[in-house]
Assembly symmetry: C2
Homo-oligomer: 143 residues x 2
DNA sequence: ATGGTATTGCAAATGATTTGCAAAGACATT
DNA sequence: AATGTCTTTGCAAATCATTTGCAATACCAT
């Protein structure tokens, strides 16, 4: 089942209406991978539905986050990024030059929680984030 | 050498003036550990220097970040946190209930970069972040 | 097709952070 | 200690991302 169909099903099941705005937002996020700012989502969506409002974008991104369809990332200070919540857990590499954000399917978590020192902390982990900043190959080759 | 003295020395060496405002900001961050929002820094500092302005706080936090004295964290969407940049590299555990941010001196990075898959990415890592969200022991015991 | 309710667009509010500018302060030099 | 220069501050207003109240509109079960 495609991401799009799945997301629409979740909305319906939970009693939310499937508006044209919601459809195009989900479509935009489903087609292309990368995390987008609300601004970028707005641009993508405006192609399909000019006239959509910014608050609609925000309200729905927030809703989709609540439903687990979308993930919200705090990569930098400027603004949040949103991306389709993958079934597959992953982290990100972010290029300091071009700002490109890419997924990596390497996760350091399993090993970490088993360390004794971590157990001593008496902290119940729920979620974690791991982000690597650096220079991507494209930007490196441009120098 | 204390954090405070060290920070003041860096400022001087780089040609920045050691104003009363800068002193109290550095003092506030040096005395207490935890990452603080600009708001919290303002409160802490206001005790020692009432009348200090918010833009002074922001301008100087940004300067201290530039000089490597302070670290800026993007923990949540609301606002940034600032903390004294430790010589010791570390990460954070953040309580989802009380919001407390604590340092942990466990780092998953060394193992990660040696994985073949990571090398394939052809990405030159510079910096990384690893944050674990969950429930701290204090909040758990309150339930 | 109709009606009730969720959702939208709009415009204004909010909250964190930044900026321009004139006045005040730091500090090297006398 | 006084002087001059250049940085830094306080203030008020601007900015930018995000949120909110409200009336108009669109969904969708009937």
């Amino acid at each position: 089942m495609s991401n799009r169909i799945n997301a629409e099903k979740i909305l319906k099941n939970r009693g939310y209406k499937l508006t044209k705005q919601r459809k195009v937002i989900i479509e935009a996020l489903s087609n292309r991978g990368g995390p987008y700012t609300a601004n970028e989502v707005f641009s993508l969506v405006s192609n399909k539905y000019s006239g959509i409002n910014f608050s609609t974008i925000y309200r729905n991104l927030e809703l989709l986050v609540k439903l687990g369809i979308v993930e919200k990332l705090n990569i930098n200070d400027e603004c949040c990024h949103f991306k389709l919540a993958g079934k597959n857990h992953h982290h990100h590499i972010i290029c300091n030059k071009c700002g490109e954000i890419k997924e990596i399917d390497i996760c350091p978590f399993k090993e970490i929680v088993n360390i004794n020192k971590f157990k001593e902390l008496d902290f119940q982990p729920i979620e974690h984030r791991f982000e690597i900043f650096g220079i991507c190959s494209k930007c490196r080759s441009k120098e």
